[in-house]
Symmetry: C2
Subunit: 603 residues, 2 copies
């Protein structure tokens, strides 16, 4: 691996091909999807799946970390005529924690002059949506969300409980515009991140997942972080948050953004704290403000802002079992207490909005007082902050800024729905973006699972994006395997939620895989799964030979006990006997099915 131009994971997933669909309103857009081919004996078309992995899985595109990705949205943004180049803020030594010489991560080779809005124009997707404009970004996500729906459209039997979500049979660009205009969905798309492929976060769309990456004071380099991002999206992360602390934050982030086809989120407070030497009390609005501009110019797509941690809420956390567990929340609480002042994030929130609207940085209003244990779930501190997040949502909307709301945390199952219901109510249906929640505290090492349970449930109830938790949560820094496990677990949670909500296209992949399973198409089972490599390797541990992938049984039961094999025998008899008609008769309450005598067949 070259330090300047490191290798990342590339190449298609098994049996998969990247396809692109053009726009109708905006013919220049090319919406990527992944087609998974199935065996010719199936007599089925390929299965089309959502694909956030970007050009890295497209063998027809040569990627180079040093060049970054193609700036596909640049033309769309310029064409709107409401932005201009600026010289931008100069990079200062403190932006990289005063790293120098060999310890300084090299700058990204190309320097793109940042764009910002002209005068006080709002260049947000929300502003366009309110003005009735269908942007290329909106049409892009409309096409992207429709995966496979064309096939089922018309023949659709809707089956699900959506708890008030309104998922259309078919997503039109106008539907997207209307959802964005109403604040029910966001398209995080900083004008300085033209490399991104637009995606939407809202409860009337597919449930999305986020993966966190980030270096720390001692570990991981730029190369590792870029690879972690590429690796996370390869397995299905829809957005990536760079939670770096320590040195080189600015330069590493630049490499990540220039190479990321998914929106990048950050917590600007972390870099701000580094700039003041890690002393929370020394934070100032001016340094924070400058950091927002720095990151907005780089192209960060959404900011977590812990502006809901108000001074008078802090006493509510004192009797908690685990106090304040949000890093941003605890830092702001410390600042507030020390200065005996209201949070500068809260007091300056309108100015923060003015910055965000000039670059279209979306807000992820942070839950600084989220519960860190089952004991603290749904307490006064948590819900007091949520009320404030609702208040801030309205301020942001008044400034044409896109908003989502962060949620807990650690919550037992019976208290999960209250979180969703309250959030919808208090925050005017702004999208909810939750961490887990973890449904028990007793399984460190398995918190991807304790939280995957809660994530699936809250996703079903209406959460629009789920922030992953890896097996290392509470214990250590996730490595490559942990990132993959976290992403796959959360893809499961998000998909289970889509199914339960009755998303019209979600079931297509389940059904295709189940048919492959029933027809002993082993290769198709592997290829249609979320993690073909693992599925194949598990199978091969017991039945390694290629011939076994054609076997009409598997290793769990062997041929004599294979229920699916026997089911095929039963089905064969059914064809002889007209059992379908018998079944219909039985369903209608006719006589019991008493078939005529016939000959045996070999089992």
């Amino acid at each position: 691996m070259n330090a300047i131009n490191p290798a990342v994971s590339t190449g298609p997933l098994p049996a998969s091909r990247k396809v692109h669909k053009p726009g109708l309103i905006h013919p220049q857009i090319r919406v990527p999807m992944r087609e998974i081919a199935v065996h010719p004996t199936a007599g089925e078309p390929p299965v089309t799946v959502y694909d956030p992995s970007g050009p890295y899985t497209d063998p027809t595109v040569e990627t180079s970390i040093e060049n970054g990705l193609a700036r596909l949205r640049h033309g769309w943004i310029k064409a709107r005529g409401d932005v201009e180049f600026t010289e931008g803020r100069s990079v200062r030594p403190e932006d990289n924690g005063f790293a120098s010489g060999e310890r300084l991560t090299p700058e990204f080779p190309a320097r793109h002059r940042p764009l910002r809005a002209k005068a006080d124009k709002a260049v947000t997707q929300l502003a366009y949506a309110r003005a009735g404009i269908i942007t290329p970004e909106m049409e892009f996500v409309a096409i992207r969300e429709n995966l496979g729906r064309e096939i089922v459209r018309g023949s659709l039997l809707r089956d699900g409980e959506a708890f008030g979500a309104v998922i259309p049979d078919f997503v039109t660009p106008e539907f997207v515009r209307d959802e964005v205009a109403g604040g029910r969905a966001i398209i995080p798309a900083n004008i300085n991140h033209p490399e991104s492929e637009p995606m939407i976060i809202g409860r009337n769309f597919l449930v999305k997942i986020n993966a966190n990456i980030g270096n720390s004071a001692v570990t991981s380099s730029m190369a590792e972080e870029v690879e972690k991002m590429v690796w996370a999206i390869r397995w299905g992360a829809d957005t990536v948050m760079d939670l770096s602390t320590g040195r080189n934050i600015h330069n590493i982030r630049e490499w990540i953004i220039r190479n990321s086809p998914v929106p990048i989120g950050t917590v600007p407070l972390y870099q701000t704290l580094e700039k003041v030497g890690g002393v929370a009390e020394d934070l100032t609005w001016e340094i924070y403000r400058d950091t927002l501009v720095e990151q907005a110019e780089q192209g960060v797509d959404y900011f977590t802002i812990h502006a809901g941690v108000r001074l008078h809420y802090i006493p509510l956390t004192v009797d908690r079992v685990t106090g304040i567990v949000s890093r941003g929340g605890s830092i702001m609480a410390k600042w507030c207490l020390h200065h005996h002042r209201e949070s500068f994030l809260y007091e300056h929130f309108e100015e923060i909005c003015d910055i965000a609207r000039a670059y279209d940085v979306s807000f992820s209003l942070g839950d600084g007082l989220r519960p860190g244990s089952i004991a603290d779930a749904n307490d006064a501190a948590q819900f007091a902050e949520l009320e404030t997040l609702g208040e801030l949502t309205k301020i942001a909307w008044a400034k044409d800024c896109q908003v989502m709301i962060e949620g807990p945390g650690h919550v037992p199952m019976h208290k999960i729905k209250e979180n969703m219901d309250k959030q919808l109510d208090v925050c005017g249906e702004a999208p909810f973006y939750t961490l887990g929640p973890l449904t028990t505290d007793i399984a460190p090492g398995y918190d991807h699972i304790t939280s995957g349970i809660g994530a699936a449930m809250i996703g079903w109830f209406g959460t629009a994006m789920l922030c992953y938790v890896t097996p290392k949560e509470h214990l250590g820094l996730p490595d490559r395997n942990d990132v993959k496990t976290g992403v796959i677990t959360y893809r499961i949670a998000a998909h289970a939620a889509d199914l339960a909500k009755g998303h019209p296209a979600a079931k297509l992949r389940d059904d295709a895989l189940s048919r492959a399973r029933f027809e002993f198409r082993w290769e198709d089972q592997f290829n249609l799964s979320l993690d073909p490599e693992t599925a194949r390797s598990f199978h091969d541990q017991t039945l390694p030979k290629e011939a076994h992938k054609l076997a009409h049984f598997c290793s769990m039961c062997g041929p004599k006990f294979c229920s699916m094999r026997i089911s095929h025998d039963i089905r064969a008899e059914a064809q002889k006997e007209g059992m379908a008609a018998m079944a219909a008769k039985y369903r209608e309450g006719g006589d019991l099915y008493v078939p005529v005598n016939e000959t045996s067949e070999q089992s």
Copy 2:
């Protein structure tokens, strides 16, 4: 490892000590529990947890596979005066699949003459309960279920949504008797398995989990199977099902039962099919009946009986995406179709009950028509069979037999609760015992997770026991690591369900672990977790030094960004400021909290 007397995993879990509580009604009983010590600085008593691991984790007991476990219930059973020794059925070559010579698994060294009921006495816990008798088994489970409740009794704030379950503040032996008498709970306790430590399965008790083991035609020996059982209970399996097929079934099962402190379940149809050379059509009631007696005499605690797969339901499966996926269900369907006859299990169900009542074998009425894919969930075939299981439940109860009901399978989240509600209604509140359910089909290799989500939910809704699913489900045979992963995942699901139901003692362990986390007692966090070894090893991957286990931060954030460390600072300020009083004032709607000026403290 010695082929005859193999080693199994023994020794206590970290910081853990086996304790025993005596009975009051039956002073001879000694109920095992595990006490996890915490660091003296915590100033807290040890945390008592439920412990199904048997004497293997008790260093004061020397175990030997060749001797089997102590026959602790033998005296209790004899003292009831309603059983007698019989010569029992002789072992026949077909019982072990005609294995001979070196291929024959040696017999268990000791031969215990089997007991059976005198005349037509019913020797079931249900019969005793109905007669108003509190057996030692009932008092044993009452004490066992009360873990830690003594501590919270009185001070208890109940918090949960139990969906009609009635979990008492304190479990008395009389409560247990009443639950068993009403059929709402079962104590699987064959009179020929006196080595077992009684446990109860019912929705008004702690949610239990089952682990499946079993050899197949080609793999695994007796030694491996005994170790799999010991390994599964070490991590928390409450019962174990031996699903062996192939040769040596009889002898391997004998080794398992003689060494198992937990109830052992089987599917007698599997051995019966082996006896007829794997040809479903050749099954007969006589061979099946003889197999039931064979297994009842060995001490099998519960039988899965697929008596609900009736002839006229089979046509209902023909249009399914995945047909019949239960092995037992498909075998019986094949038999029924071939002979054009009603299932012999259904027709002879009363005789099956007569056998079960003579040994106290509980029934697990199998769901032979459970859905094998999201597409087939909650369909006509599935619910038709459930109606029949309800009918069979009443027959079994009339014969004083204990019954639980097996459930699906593959079910999307929005269709899970209907399964539970229907089961409660149709089966008169007999305990529900479900496999998963898996909430999506698209993640082979991760089906412990797809199913863990469904298991947690259905456990919350009222399922009494959850059958684990390992990562190898659909792909291959689980190895040691897979068994452990499956058990831990299902312990998470069961515990999350207990918390959500509002089980009065469930939260004690979460709270103890959360306090340890907040107070940086790393060793206590590891020791209180479901898998101390994994928690510790994950921590050590990033911060390996012993000194780091005293650190007041962890590797994710480092000291500057440690929210818990900052929370401690905040709490210290609170003590100076009387913030608790301020919080109370705020909650009462008083003025905003505006603290007086004071000096900074170091972060």
